[in-house]
Structures are given as structure tokens and as C-alpha cells.
Symmetry: C2
Subunit: 468 residues, 2 copies
């Protein structure tokens, strides 16, 4: 079966090269059910492996040839080999989180082959605390962050007693019995046509057709460098060419702690997330003697309101815009940094509200497909980096989720570093936790794990500053 | 430091693409020393990781740019990161050889990034029999099979009590104390200039300059299809486009058993190796209902005699020629197959003896760089595959070897499948064992593991036929 590939997805395929694999990933941690036996993980692996029918999304691979007139199409892999995609791995002793993150960094470094469906999943045993890990990898041409979260919700169940749940790549014919209405709706995601799996494809497809004109519009209208919409950021060690090798760091903190800071200071949870990143980046760059004099700028994707969405998305989907946030990394005081972030976020949202349709379109394009746009910006002659790093916050399931009785206890996203943007911070909320996933180029971002300590210290500092 | 790359190595770099990574590998199995503690493997890993000075061979990566006038040069990686190259891995339970081969196949599938030195090594724990495995991967532009075996000999010691032995990639300043004179000579291999690490580079470099002319010469002079030098083989499932994904199978048999068959039948150990492969391929292809009516042809690299070497190698090195061996896969009787192989090998050697210098040069080129030449053959308009698979037999150390007290108990080569040649069988002898390594494209060569059973059954059948 041959299906055309939408322009956004084609963009992700074309932007890919050996140093810039265009896949997103997820690390899920599970607590085994009570009374799980010795062979629990192997049995789980075998059960998932023997999935009877694979959903179309997980069977397709991109193809282009003279026969397709040089156009990319999705083709069904008629020699599908589940053992190529789904694997059973293990950690060396002592099986700490450190060994797990090291393995995930390594798995995230290898590029998906286009001659097979663009996904991998690894069941990982050997954590000394007895938990089970699952690393999954999907090409960005198949899913964006929001869709990935929907998929995550769709394959889990809030019912700890539900069993015989199908593998994430199994074709689903009916909603799981204990799922909510929303989950039931989302269950069939893997079965819908490829196009619908991208949340706001319309906008980016359109923007992809005229990116340079769009960016020029944006650039001309906001030449003022002090604007919250500035496309100018200082040069940092993060803004270099990257290699294909990755490091991954992940940790979670109770959302309640972030909420308390927000309440005490009149800021949002998202503001606190970015302030944590700001303090952590400051400490990290200071240690390396690489902190610039002026503030780092983060590109933060934000949801657009109904009217903005209507402008930005031809299909009326949930379009995503982008705000350039001055992180306040030049400020020594945590409270000052949080205030700076809050103000910059607010300015950015206000600016989005006052933007012309074409500007909203451009900003949405930036928010939708950040991995493609720096290339475009470069093409349009912008010499300095438009921003220093991307910080995304994608909402995930709010309640405890289970897979065949195993409790999901953490879920950490792995994202896409690109040339000029060697670090990506993506957060997902899950069951009262804010889960941070930091993905960096192994060469360009040294000692990535230290950022976790800095994030933790910054959270404590923000609590102290907020009088908690 | 910048060094030019020799033409043969450049050939391997240029021939590489996503479906055809050009690296060779080795799986070494070790028995831990008596009294090894719980942390033996981690300590071994940490000791090797903290190598003080890395040898130049393991620090260089290929580079080309406008600055180098588009030519490939070796550059020293000034941001060398040992953790990218040397890794600690583990097998999932139950930790059988099956899980080990699966992991090796997976590790062998990923391409080495050119922006870093072209090697990887993995210490692998979790074998249920308590042994330790080491998978290593080196780009074919750095080593050929014979050099790899010398390197192997150089990093081991015949002395079980020797300790403080450096990692394979460590710079060596003096020969290990208990090594033989030959080993001492080889110890410094990793330190010699890059060029010298290839055994007979001169010839291939020369041939690379005029491959099409050479092949045409060869082709014209041996148009007779019944000749042992025929460059025509039947089409089989092995002779298709391949993917970048690999399967690996490995097993060893006592050389004594092969030698006994040779003695009883007047054939060589190498003849018996090829006859084993012949019977195994016949059984394998019969099961798949894919056995061709005419014999499969194997390309078998052989050493040239002194005079031939002189012709083939400008530097007088140990040049390697190639013989096209009719494997006798169309014959039902094991004894007939062995006779057919023996005759074909003898014809081939005789033909090499009677060849003109230019023909020897061409056959040597084929034997030296098989991974490149099918591309050339295709370019020269030969439509049918020149041979069906490559069977190499590279001599290794004859005595028991140790690394820091761990006994090397098996050593299995992983080689390079290429487009049109989806399976490679490479054998190495070690300490009384003939170790087979079968590397195949995961998609094109299904059920690769079955070949091990077939090889074993064929050895038994040959013994019976020889009256043993």
C-alpha cells in the first residue's frame, strides 16, 4: 500500500543526516505487579513480541524512487521483522539509573533505517531496584510530542487489574474495557490515517512552502533586540555543530513543589520549569566558564488560543506557537531569574495576541517544527542563533497508569538536538510528577548529568526565595 | 596531526553507505581467572577505560573538506571521548549464547561515525556460564583480516599469570614480558604508521587505479564458464540488495576433526572448511526451496607464493589472491562435494600459477578488497553475480592466550555483507579450534542460526564419508 507523505513529515526526513537523526524517544519506568515471578520480564517481552497484527503506523516506511516521481511515499514493509524493532536488553551491574541513562543515550544515538518502519522499542531489565524500563524510539515524521503523549495514554490503562493489554504497536479493534471516554477515543490513534497523527500539521505544511518569506516578515517586524520576540541570542557552547552521539539525563520532581512556588510568587508552573532550567544552565555554564554576559534565550512552544489557532491551522487543529523567553541567566538571584522568566513569558504571550496572521503563522511554524527551522533561519541570513535551546513542556496523563498490571512510575522524553542547538529539554507531567528529559550531543554538551543536580538545587533555591 | 589516507582505505570509506557499513568485528569469549570476585567485570572495564595514553590508530578519524582539497586525510580527534568508544553491556536473562549473538548482530548493525575514531569495544556480562564476552568493531579502512589477527595476538599473552596488561587501544612502549619474539614484533603494530597496518595495500592501491581495465582483462581471458576462475555464479537469495541490519551466528569445532577428514581423503583443512559450508548451504537453501541447479561459487582468498606476491605487491608484502571455488552444492553426496571442492581449489591454485602478471594483479585485488570489487564488477557490465558468497579462513594464534589472567576460549569474526553478497563466512583458527563467524543481512538471510546446525551435521556426514 502506498500513501503520500505530508510535507511536514517530508521536512523531517529531508532534514535528517548522520549527525542529526530525527527521532524522538521515551523512557518509561515500571514497577512490576505484586507477585511477579522470575521470568516476568521475559514473559512480558515474549507476549509483546508475539503481537498478532501490527498497526499500519508501525508497518510503514518512507520510500521514493523514479516510480514515485521522486516524491516520498509511505510503503508497507512486506518483510516486516518484529525482532528488528522490538528488543530485549539488559543493564550491566550494579544496574543503577546511571547505567540506564547511559544505555538510553546510546540507543538514542543510532539512526532509524528508512528501509524499515521507523520505530524501535526496548524492554530493559537489570535495574537493581527491580523496576523494568522501556525505551521507545519513533521518527519525528510519524509523531510529534503531543501525539506521542496521546499514544502513551492510549496504550496504558488506569486499571491495575487489567491484563491481556496489547503491545503499543498492535492493531486495536476496540477500546480497553476500563478506559475513560477520552482514552477510548485515543485508543484508536494508531489506526487512523498517518496524517491525523500529527496534531497541527496543516500550519507547518503551509509554512514549509514559504518559510523564508515568513521568517523575513518576522525578522523585519521585530528587529528590536530587547523585544521578547527577538530572534537573537548570545553565542554559547550549545550553539555549535553537533555529532550523532547522544547523552541523556532524566529526573522527576513533584509538581506540587512547583505549584507551591508558583502560588507564592504569582507565576505559573511553566514559569517555574523554565526558571529551574535557567538557574541550572547558569550554574552549569559558570562551572565551564562559558556563561555569556547576556541572557540565554529559550524557545518555548506554547498552545495558541482558539482564534490564533484558526489563523495558524487550516484544519483548525491545536496549533502551537513559539515564545522566545529571556531566561535571565545573567542574574545571580533565583527570585530575579523567576521574575525575568515570568515577564518574558507574559510579553511573549501578549505579543502573540497582537500579531498579524502572517506573524502568527510564522511563530506557529517555529513552535511546530523547531528541528527544521534553524536551517531555514540560517538560509535567511540570520547569523546569530535565534535561540539557545528549546524547552518544551508537554502535558501527559494525570492519573496512575498501568500496563498489564505494571505501574508506570515515570516517563521521560528524549528529543532531538540539532546543528546549532545541542541541548533539548523536554518535560512531561505524569501522575503528580514533572519528568525532565535532557537530550544533548555527547560531544558538545559535556557532563550533562550535572544539570540534574543543578535543577534540583535551583528548585530548592526557588522554594527558599518564595519563602516556602 | 593530518596524514593522507591510502587509496585502499579511501575505497572502503567511499563504498560505505547506510546499508553497507564497512567495519569488521570480533567476538572474543573469555573464562575468568580462578577466584575472580563479584566485581571482576566492572573492575576490568574500569581498568581498560582508564587507559592513560591511546595509540594513534585509535585516535584518528577521516576528514575531508575544502582545506584538504576534497581529499581524505586522517585527523587526530582532539575531543576524544573514551566512553563513546568503549562500553559496558549486559545480556538479558537467561544469558545464553543466543542472547549474545543477538546483541552482537545488533551492535554490528550500527555504522561508525566518521567524526570520531572508527572503532568500538564492548565488554559484555551476563552469560549464564559465567564467561565474559568482548565485541570489538573496527573500520575496514583501518585493518584487514590478517592485521586484525596480528593485533589480537599482540594484545594477548601466553602467560596466564601476566597482569597489568594494557587495553587493546593503549599505546605500547615495550613488548609484554612473556611474549614470543614474533608477538613482540607484533606488539608495536598499533603504533606503526597507518599504512603499514594493511598487509598488502600496495597491490590494491594500484588495482584501485585501474579496476575496470583489470576486471575486463580477467573477464576476457576466462570467459569459459566451466573454468575454476569463472566469474559467473547462479542467482541465489544471497545475491540481492541488502539492508543495514545484521544477524550473526558463531560456533567452533576442533581442528583435529577437520584434519582427520583431510588425512583420510587427501584434502586440506581449508577444503574441509569449504565442504562444510557447501553441505550447510545446500541444506539451508533446500529448506527454503531456493537451491539453484548449478553449483554455488565461493570466493576464497588464498595466500600467493613468493613469486606471485612479488608481482602482485609493489612492496613485496604478503599479497592475497582469490580463487572462485565451485562448492558442489548441486551434489547430494557429502564425499562428492568434498571432492568437487578439492578439485576446484586445486584448479584455482594451478590457474593462479599459470596466470600473467596482470591477471595475478586482478585476482589479488579481488582477494584483497572483496567488499569493493562487486561494485566494480557491476560497473564493468557483468550482470550475473561473480560469486555467491565469500568464505575466508584467517589463521589466528595457535596457543592458549590470556588477557590479564582471563583465558581466551573462543574468537569469532564478524565481517561485511554487501549489496549482492548478503552472507559472509569467515573462519579463524585458535588454540586447536576452527571458529566460524557467519555475518548476514538480517532481511536477506533468514534463520541464519540454522546454518550452525547444518555445519555441524555436515561435519558428521564428512567424517562418516571419510570412514572415521
Amino acid at each position: 500500500m502506498v500513501t503520500p507523505i505530508d510535507p511536514t513529515s517530508v521536512g523531517f526526513l529531508l532534514a535528517e543526516n548522520r549527525s542529526m537523526p530525527m527521532h524522538v524517544g521515551g523512557l518509561a519506568l515500571y514497577k512490576k505487579p505484586e507477585g511477579a515471578g522470575r521470568n516476568y520480564i521475559r514473559d512480558l517481552y515474549e507476549q509483546m513480541r508475539s503481537c498478532e497484527e501490527v498497526a499500519p503506523l508501525f508497518l510503514r516506511h518512507p520510500h521514493r524512487s523514479a516510480r514515485t516521481a521522486g516524491q516520498f511515499v509511505w510503503e508497507t514493509d512486506d518483510q516486516f521483522d518484529i525482532d528488528h524493532h522490538f528488543r530485549h536488553s539488559a543493564l550491566p551491574k550494579p544496574g543503577r539509573i546511571r547505567e540506564l541513562l547511559e544505555l538510553c543515550g546510546r540507543l538514542h544515538s543510532t539512526r532509524l533505517a528508512w528501509d524499515r518502519p521507523l520505530w524501535e522499542a526496548h524492554v530493559i531489565e537489570g535495574l537493581r531496584d527491580g523496576r523494568v524500563a522501556m525505551y521507545t524510539k519513533l521518527h519525528h515524521s510519524l509523531v510529534d510530542g503531543v501525539s506521542a503523549m496521546r499514544l502513551l495514554a492510549a496504550i496504558h490503562s488506569p486499571d491495575p487489574d487489567e491484563r491481556d493489554m496489547p503491545a503499543p504497536w498492535a492493531r486495536r479493534n476496540r477500546p480497553p474495557k476500563a478506559a475513560s471516554e477520552q482514552a477510548a477515543l485515543e485508543t484508536s490513534l494508531a489506526d487512523v490515517p498517518m496524517q491525523a497523527l500529527r496534531t497541527a500539521m496543516g500550519i507547518t505544511a503551509e509554512a514549509a512552502g514559504m518559510p523564508i518569506a515568513l521568517i523575513k516578515t518576522l525578522n523585519h517586524s521585530i528587529r528590536n533586540e530587547t523585544s521578547a520576540l527577538s530572534l537573537y541570542a548570545p553565542r554559547t557552547i550549545l550553539n555549535q555543530q553537533i555529532t550523532g552521539s547522544r547523552r541523556f539525563a532524566a529526573q522527576d520532581w513533584p509538581i506540587e513543589r512547583l505549584r507551591a512556588i508558583g502560588k507564592a510568587t504569582g507565576t505559573t508552573i511553566n514559569d517555574v520549569v523554565i526558571a529551574m532550567c535557567s538557574g541550572a544552565m547558569r550554574a552549569y555554564l559558570l562551572e565551564l566558564n562559558e556563561l555569556p554576559d547576556t541572557s540565554l534565550v529559550a524557545m518555548v512552544p506554547v498552545g495558541l488560543n482558539a482564534k490564533q489557532s484558526q489563523i495558524a491551522s487550516a484544519e483548525g487543529g491545536n496549533a502551537v506557537g513559539a515564545i522566545m523567553v529571556k531566561m535571565g541567566t545573567e542574574l545571580a538571584d533565583p527570585a530575579d531569574r523567576l521574575r525575568s522568566v515570568h515577564r518574558s513569558m507574559k510579553d511573549g504571550k501578549d505579543a502573540l495576541s497582537s500579531m498579524t496572521p502572517i506573524q502568527i503563522l510564522a511563530m506557529s511554524a517555529l513552535g511546530q517544527a523547531p528541528a527544521i527551522f534553524p536551517v531555514v533561519l540560517k538560509m535567511s541570513g540570520i547569523a546569530r542563533p535565534p535561540y539557545n535551546l528549546i524547552i518544551s513542556n508537554v502535558p501527559g496523563p494525570r492519573t496512575t497508569q498501568y500496563f498489564n498490571g505494571s505501574q508506570l512510575v515515570g516517563n521521560y522524553p528524549l528529543s532531538i538536538p540539532i546543528h546549532g542547538m545541542a541541548l533539548n529539554i523536554t518535560c512531561t507531567s505524569y501522575d503528580g510528577l514533572m519528568c525532565f528529559g535532557l537530550t544533548g550531543c555527547r560531544r558538545t554538551v559535556p557532563h550533562l548529568q550535572r544539570l540534574l543536580t543543578h535543577l534540583d538545587q535551583e528548585l530548592v533555591a526557588l522554594e527558599r526565595a518564595a519563602g516556602i
